[in-house]
């Protein structure tokens, strides 16, 4: 129901109340639970978005300081040709695709469906792990080639961004495992399907965030300047 209309309603007039607005608890318990988890995830994603947004905005501001040296641009800079990052992105994309498959695959036979789902979830786990390992490799390579975390601010922000992103992915991983364990314990198909759907959203969200970070962290100084100007720095 339209939130504005709600805020404008006069609650002391009983005939003005829109009762269908209020959530009807006579509905099935599971539906309440599913709706709730979805709402919670939406709010959680808002929180995570604020985190990344704030780091990004401070990053853009810092990019205009004289001591900032972008990590991309001339060919000798590590991200002028970020092959490893592309590979990692591919892993994350595969993880996203596979988890979607796990959540939506339909098969005639229940045991086939379950097997497919289990396989797909294992692949999700595998690809996500490969992504995280790949990120750690990038860290290692960067540090070895002299771009330590406490060097240039561009370095610091790279480690910060990827570290926080990685932590969120790891957290999602734990949530996914809990979803699977819960399914194994209670064999509730509807609940599983709902929760898997939410995991899919989360993986897609982290993938989009990653691609935005990728673009931001491998941009050239000229790009930073343009974006910073747009933001008023």
């Amino acid at each position: 129901m339209n939130i504005i209309r709600q805020l404008l309603s006069k609650p002391w007039l009983s005939d003005d109340a829109d009762i269908t607005d209020s959530y009807n608890q006579t509905q099935c318990l599971r539906v309440v639970q599913t709706q709730s988890t979805k709402t919670a995830l939406v709010f959680f994603l808002m929180v995570v978005t604020v985190v990344f947004f704030l780091i990004s905005i401070t990053f853009l501001s810092r990019s205009q300081y004289p001591d900032f040296t972008a990590l991309a641009g001339p060919p000798w800079l590590p991200f002028s040709n970020p092959i490893t990052l592309w590979v990692n992105s591919a892993f994350l994309l595969l993880a996203s695709i596979v988890i979607r498959f796990a959540a939506t695959s339909k098969a005639s036979n229940e045991s086939v469906a379950n097997t497919r789902m289990v396989l797909a979830l294992c692949l999700t786990g595998l690809f996500s792990c490969l992504f995280l390992i790949g990120q750690l490799l990038v860290w290692q390579q960067l540090t070895a080639s002299g771009f330590a975390v406490n060097g240039n601010p561009a370095n610091s922000y790279f480690y910060l961004f990827t570290g926080i992103h990685g932590l969120h992915l790891a957290g999602g991983f734990i949530a996914l495992i809990r979803v699977v364990i819960s399914f194994v314990k209670h064999a509730d198909n509807e609940r599983l399907s709902a929760n898997l759907g939410l995991c899919v959203w989360y993986w897609h969200y982290l993938f989009i965030v990653w691609m935005l970070l990728f673009a931001l962290l491998t941009a050239t100084p000229a790009t930073y300047k343009t974006i910073a100007l747009l933001c008023g720095f």
Partner: protein, 580 residues
């Protein structure tokens, strides 16, 4: 009507640990939060007494040196704002009241709720641990400004600051878990008939405050992580090229002002995270004890929403003298003075609720009146500080200290006491002793005003805050020392006076008068449970259905001067008006 399944864990908990320690019941969790918060709050109160001893009687207490003084200042501030007020208002009252007021059996995520308490407790333990590490807790002020917070010359720059930042990060995780519960429960688990606009203002305050918290705490988290990086990894987020005690350090290029932006982007909404639940609760206390509907309910809701939204665009009024781009001053002064308007409207509406009411002078009502008086005062002094150029002579003086204690310390505490005296019968089934309550009120109300009114004048004079001692300063007359001593005495009396309250709480738990159900004859749902105090599952077999808003007090044509939200018209109207 179909049989409703409880949302919460269906199994009745058994055994001491399941019932009282790892409980999933929102009421138990609320009490756990409240007890923990009040406990650390008392520690912070003692710290403030130590601070006042130094300020009132300098050179008398050899165990208070500049280093420990700054540590007391810092820990007092951070505990009060975050670990007491935020935790008690949202974790304590939010947890207890939300499911009851919306007619739910529990929060939608009881397990997550339990986790959030234990995480909060861990954050408290980590914070207190900083008293026991080498160098002691950080003494950088609750605002933790870099570069000083992580450099020698400030207490706790080695270990204390690390534990502080870690504790804050853990708290934020706890808050996020709790916050997701509160907003989701309010949005999804309201019982039939409970529209958003039929919710009591307590819930609106808590609801918007939770959203503010979810969106604002990330800024604190980001700034804490960046400061940890600067300290532990040698990055330069906030650290420019600097000397530390004469030695050149390795940092370069960072901006201390950046920290301040991040901190206050969190810090300003934080004060509304404390204030909005207080506004909501005091509205309900006033309405109940004056037997009158809250005046202008819609405006009150809109004001809460507006204040919540505006609170995100005023933060740099804490930074007028920070050295930031001075042109920002124009923008933030304007938004800050704009936010005064919805706040003022709320004050008018509380007064207009009392107008033509039938005011019972119960202890909650006394505290509510005390709130109106002190909040008006504190809000008005905020207008001085918000007006950028007026802030210039007053910034970083005791005027600021007096202002924020009035609006954060005194008035929300008035509401907290009002709320505790009001809801104590619901939680425990007993009444708090009225005589002791009134004594507690007078000592606290008059005492805190005696502390903070004169303090503003120290600020006008120019007496700086966070000064261990004033020494021989030409423009500060000796009479200032007398004034400081007087404030200290008042503070000690108020501090000791709180023992009356603690005693009342403990005594009344065992020997308080047994409460009848709904002793204040309130309309909101939390008082309409079949058992008082409510048991696990809250509503017995059937959850309530709501037929009216939360403020049907003294409605013409109704049988009694209050009509609970779950009473139908047939049950509540007089026979000649259509009732039964």
């Amino acid at each position: 009507m179909k049989e409703i399944q409880p949302i919460a864990d269906d199994h009745q908990p058994s055994g001491f640990f399941a019932k009282y320690v790892w409980s999933l019941d929102h009421k138990v969790i609320a009490i756990q939060y409240s007890v923990t918060a009040i406990f650390v709050g008392l520690i912070a109160l003692v710290l403030s007494a130590l601070m006042r001893l130094q300020l009132g009687f300098p050179d008398h207490f050899s165990f208070i040196d500049p280093s420990s003084y700054l540590q007391y200042v810092t820990m007092h501030g951070i505990i009060m704002v975050i670990y007491l007020l935020t935790a008690l208002l949202l974790g304590g009252f939010g947890n207890y009241l939300i499911p009851l007021m919306i007619g739910a059996r529990d929060m939608v995520f009881p397990y997550l709720n339990m986790l959030s308490f234990w995480t909060y407790l861990v954050s408290v333990i980590v914070l207190i641990a900083s008293f026991f590490v080498t160098g002691g807790p950080t003494g950088a002020g609750w605002t933790l400004y870099p570069p000083q917070a992580i450099l020698q010359g400030t207490p706790g720059a080695d270990n204390g600051i690390l534990l502080m930042l870690l504790s804050l990060a853990i708290f934020i995780i706890a808050f996020t878990m709790g916050g997701l519960n509160y907003v989701t429960t309010i949005l999804q688990a309201r019982t039939r008939g409970m529209t958003l606009m039929r919710m009591p203002l307590t819930l609106w305050g808590i609801f918007i405050a939770t959203i503010l918290g979810l969106l604002a705490f990330p800024a604190l988290l980001v700034s804490a992580i960046m400061m940890l990086f600067d300290k532990l990894l040698g990055t330069s987020f906030f650290m420019p090229a600097i000397l530390s005690l004469g030695e050149n350090l390795d940092y370069t290029g960072g901006s201390p002002i950046l920290f301040q932006h991040l901190f206050w982007f969190f810090g300003h909404p934080e004060v509304y995270i404390v204030a909005l639940p207080a506004f909501g609760m005091v509205s309900d206390v006033i309405a109940t004890h004056a037997r009158k509907n809250i005046f202008g309910y819609r405006m009150m809701v809109w004001a809460i929403v507006a204040i919540g939204g505006l609170s995100f665009v005023v933060w740099a009024h804490h930074m007028y003298v920070s050295g930031m781009n001075p042109y920002f001053g124009f923008f933030f002064a304007t938004t800050t003075l704009i936010i005064a308007v919805p706040t003022a409207l709320k004050v008018y509406n509380w007064l207009l609720t009392l107008w033509r009411g039938n005011i019972h002078f119960t202890v909650p009502m006394f505290f509510a009146i005390g709130f109106i008086f002190t909040f008006t005062h504190g809000g008005l002094t905020g207008l001085f500080l918000g007006n950028v150029v007026v802030d210039l002579p007053l910034s970083d003086t005791f005027f600021v200290v007096a202002h924020f204690h009035m609006v954060m310390g005194v008035s929300p505490i008035m509401v907290l006491f009002a709320a505790i005296y009001h809801w104590f019968p619901l939680v425990t089934g007993r009444m708090l002793h009225t005589g002791l309550g009134k004594l507690h009120f007078w000592v606290t109300f008059l005492g805190t005003y005696a502390i903070y009114l004169p303090m503003h004048y120290l600020g006008f004079l120019g007496v700086p805050r966070r000064y261990f001692a004033l020494g021989d300063t030409a423009f500060i007359p000796d009479s200032t020392q007398t004034l400081n001593a007087g404030i200290t005495v008042a503070a000690l009396i108020v501090g000791v006076g709180q023992l009356i309250f603690i005693f009342n709480l403990i005594w009344s738990l065992r020997r308080g008068k047994v409460a009848v159900a709904n002793p204040w004859q309130a309309t909101s749902l939390e008082w309409q449970t079949p058992q008082c105090p409510p048991v696990h599952g809250n509503w017995g077999d059937n959850v309530p259905v709501v037929y009216r808003w939360a403020y049907d007090y003294s409605v013409p044509g109704h049988k009694t001067d209050f009509t609970p939200q779950n009473k139908t018209d047939a049950e509540s109207l007089l026979p000649d008006k259509g009732g039964l």
